[in-house]
């Protein structure tokens, strides 16, 4: 039994940490957050040069063909850097295309995504803001050889910068996954300013958008499976980011407690402060355990994978928020200022907690499995 990143994964993680320390400094993060899309083409290209835009995309489509465990090694560093931009959105869309797309579609989309030439996202949520794909209502009406998409999607991440939006719609026979390219006629994108300006949210109106049936990624029951398993991958990647957010917060709070002096001593000498920091460490370590297991079980197609992903997201959601709270408390007044970088991570933690369902949502998922005995 070996429950740790291996040597190559640790090296990959270190190189990612060095890369982001160089290419994605906090000042740059703040500049990007102040823009409309939080997208930096130069940074994206540099990430593509590292191969990370295609990290888990199969080698036949120009990706690195690595596993989800490799991905979380890099993902943690993205969180530590509070990386802005459409990495997670594109990963989610790529995972969906990889699972639901035919050979031609996979080649068509995955090659440019791996090369860094295409950003993408998934439009799932609607006005009721339910993460369960089965509650999707946006209509895909069949007319001749086309689907006509009619309705509105909410909280679509990075829609403005995306070259491709996979719209999860409801057809007569179940869910339809319709790829819609940037600038498609009838598609209108409006910003939804949210708590975390490093990952932009949008409302996307589909007003009779034409999507040829031949382009749709998959049909009927397979579609739901594909959405669920692609989302599981994105959830694991998000949890890795959240762990990085926690690590940043913990390390900075510890450093602050060692240097900030009150009553003639560093505040880290007082147990009231020590125990806040010890709790932050325990929460981050617990989250790490849950994350590693989720990544491993998804990459091994373990039967418990869905449950493990919900455990990880429930755990990381509560932990990221609470580590942020304790970290802010240890910092005192300075941690509440706009000037201190803690606020960037505090907000990122909150938005990440919400994305793909918070702890309450995932605990209900867990209850369905372990209390009701629902295997699905």
């Amino acid at each position: 039994m070996d429950f740790d990143l291996n040597k190559a994964q640790k090296l990959l993680q270190q190189s990612a940490r060095d890369f982001f320390a160089r290419e994605c400094k906090p000042e740059r993060v703040r500049e990007l957050m102040a823009t409309d899309t939080a997208y930096d083409d130069g940074l994206w290209r540099a990430m593509a040069d590292q191969g990370w835009t295609g990290l888990i995309i199969p080698e036949e489509f120009g990706g690195l063909g690595l596993s989800l465990v490799d991905l979380i090694a890099v993902g943690e560093e993205m969180g530590r850097a509070c990386l802005p931009g459409p990495f997670l959105s594109t990963l989610w869309a790529a995972a969906l295309i990889d699972r639901a797309g035919g050979e031609g579609q996979r080649k068509l989309y995955l090659e440019p995504i791996a090369a860094g030439d295409m950003k993408a996202t998934v439009a799932l949520l609607e006005a009721d803001a339910d993460w369960n794909p089965e509650s999707v209502q946006l209509r895909a009406e069949k007319e001749g050889k086309d689907f006509r998409l009619r309705g509105r999607k909410e909280f679509v991440t990075d829609a403005e910068v995306a070259d491709l939006i996979i719209c999860v719609a409801r057809g007569n026979d179940g869910l339809v996954l319709a790829p819609v390219v940037k600038g498609a006629k009838g598609m209108k994108i409006d910003a939804t300013p949210g708590v975390d300006a490093s990952r932009k949210l949008y409302s996307v109106e589909f007003d009779d958008v034409v999507a040829p049936e031949a382009d749709a990624l998959a049909f009927n029951t397979r579609t739901l499976d594909a959405v669920e398993s692609a989302t599981a991958i994105a959830v694991v990647a998000l949890c890795a980011e959240m762990l990085g957010v926690m690590q940043w917060t913990l390390e900075n709070a510890v450093e602050y407690a060692k240097t900030r002096q009150q009553f003639g001593k560093p505040i880290g000498v007082y147990q009231a402060v020590q125990h806040q920091l010890a709790d932050m460490f325990l929460m981050a370590e617990g989250a790490r355990s849950a994350l590693y297991y989720a990544a491993w079980s998804v990459s091994e197609n373990d039967p418990s994978a869905k449950l493990a992903v919900s455990v990880a997201k429930a755990c990381c959601s509560d932990a990221a928020r609470e580590v942020g709270n304790r970290g802010a408390q240890v910092h005192g007044g300075i941690g509440f200022t706009w000037e201190h970088n803690l606020q960037l991570y505090y907000k990122r933690a909150k938005a990440s907690e919400i994305m793909f369902g918070d702890a309450n949502y995932h605990r209900e998922e867990i209850a369905r499995k372990v209390v009701d005995g629902d295997e699905g």
């Binding site: 070996d2 994964q9 147990q271 125990h275 920091l277 010890a278 460490f281 491993w296 209900e364």
Partner: protein, 386 residues
């Protein structure tokens, strides 16, 4: 990352599982009164003798002392299988997991030959005399005095919270041998015969009604100098070795017991309308999450210890996790079962017992406050607060 057992580990597990299946006795159904060496004590002692004859009692010890040189992962497998088979506990657990390893680490050859075999066979039961009325978390401030008199120490003082003292034949006793030295430097660990004249044991009844702790009084008890474990006045190092073993050994078996408790609670809740109440569903799911995190953190610790070779602060982290989990879980069970939960007649009183017993979890074997201090200082590198 590979969470599967190796073929060797699987073989070890299968062999043990088969042995337990054919050898574990039927569960004890009589009274468990622990005040004296009654039938339950003899039942447990016989069981450990059989286990030692099967070669399963001290598997982590070196082969020459009756062990198997088992690695930590095999220890974890053993604890899991034990809990899974619902096999009775080993009565001499303090000897096997704490005192034996300490004797192996710092004892003389004579001490090893004299004491180790009888720990394995449970022929001699051990207790651990560390805490005193005025030395709890601050064990190093202990006052029980050992004065040199020829080739003997003469011991006077009192210990408290001493598990198994009422049935023990021997005690690993921390004593003060130099009152002028700084508190960590005047301590000597002694191996004391509990049958010596001057030793008196008084059981302490707990909140649960059980009496598994004791007070132990030492009145001019003579202990041969040859029974010092480790060097004289260097007993603190000996004590640390024991405490590290104490915290490193809590894990896999505990998980299986907690998991069984959770499964049985869920089964109980399913029989009520509460199964549809979102509040209880959330709490049961949260218990599942916390238990998973404990299981997985334990596996990560095993991986790390097998890489570095020594138990580190991992034990403190796991102890914090399981003790606080069990208290929250015990409360969830009380809420989910409603008025039945308080009854000593419902499910054999297991829920009310667990609720009361869990209260001690964050106090025994290192309080949560001390463990957080350890995490803050040794893991996070914060300055010492005391």
């Amino acid at each position: 990352m590979d969470l599967n057992l190796t073929p060797e580990q699987r073989q070890f597990r299968d062999e043990l599982r088969a042995w337990l299946q054919s050898n574990a006795p039927s569960p004890w159904s009589g009274s468990k009164a622990e005040e004296e060496k009654g039938p339950y004590f003899e039942y447990l002692r016989n069981w450990q003798r059989e286990v030692s004859e099967g070669g399963w009692a001290a598997i982590s010890w070196p082969k020459e002392y009756g062990g198997r040189d088992a690695k930590l992962i095999e220890m974890a497998i053993l604890q899991e299988e034990w809990a899974r088979a619902e096999a009775p506990p080993l009565i001499n657990s303090l000897g096997l997991y704490l005192i034996g390893p300490t004797i192996i680490a710092v004892g003389t050859e004579e001490q090893k030959a004299r004491f180790l075999p009888k720990i394995v066979s449970a022929e001699e039961i051990w207790c651990q005399g560390f805490s005193e009325p005025n030395a709890g978390s601050d064990v190093a401030s202990l006052a029980t005095k050992a004065t040199l008199d020829g080739d003997h120490f003469v011991v006077n003082g009192q210990k408290i919270w001493t598990s198994l003292a009422h049935v023990a034949d021997w005690c690993l006793l921390l004593t003060r041998t130099d009152s002028n030295a700084p508190k960590h430097k005047g301590i000597t660990a002694l191996l004391v015969d509990m049958h010596s004249p001057g030793v008196a044991v008084r059981p302490l009844k707990q909140m649960t009604g059980d009496a598994s702790f004791n007070e132990v009084f030492f009145d001019n008890v003579r202990v041969p100098v040859a029974n010092a474990l480790g060097e004289v006045n260097k007993g603190w190092q000996t004590a640390i070795t024991t405490l590290m073993n104490e915290r490193a050994n809590l894990g896999a078996g505990t998980y299986v017991i907690f998991k069984r408790n959770l499964d049985e609670l869920i089964e109980r809740v399913r029989q009520t309308k509460r199964v549809q109440n979102p509040l209880f569903r959330q709490k049961l799911a949260q218990a599942y999450v916390e238990l998973e995190v404990f299981r997985l953190t334990n596996m990560r610790s095993l991986t790390r210890i097998s890489q570095t070779g020594v138990p580190g602060p991992e034990g403190s982290i796991l102890k914090l996790q399981w003790s606080e989990f069990n208290q929250r879980f015990a409360q969830t069970a009380m809420e989910a079962l409603g008025p039945h939960a308080q009854s000593w007649g419902f499910d054999g009183g297991r829920w009310v017992f667990n609720y009361l017993r869990a209260r001690a979890n964050t106090i025994e074997a290192g309080t949560s406050e001390i463990l957080r201090n350890i995490v803050a200082e040794r893991v996070l590198g914060l300055p010492k607060s005391y």
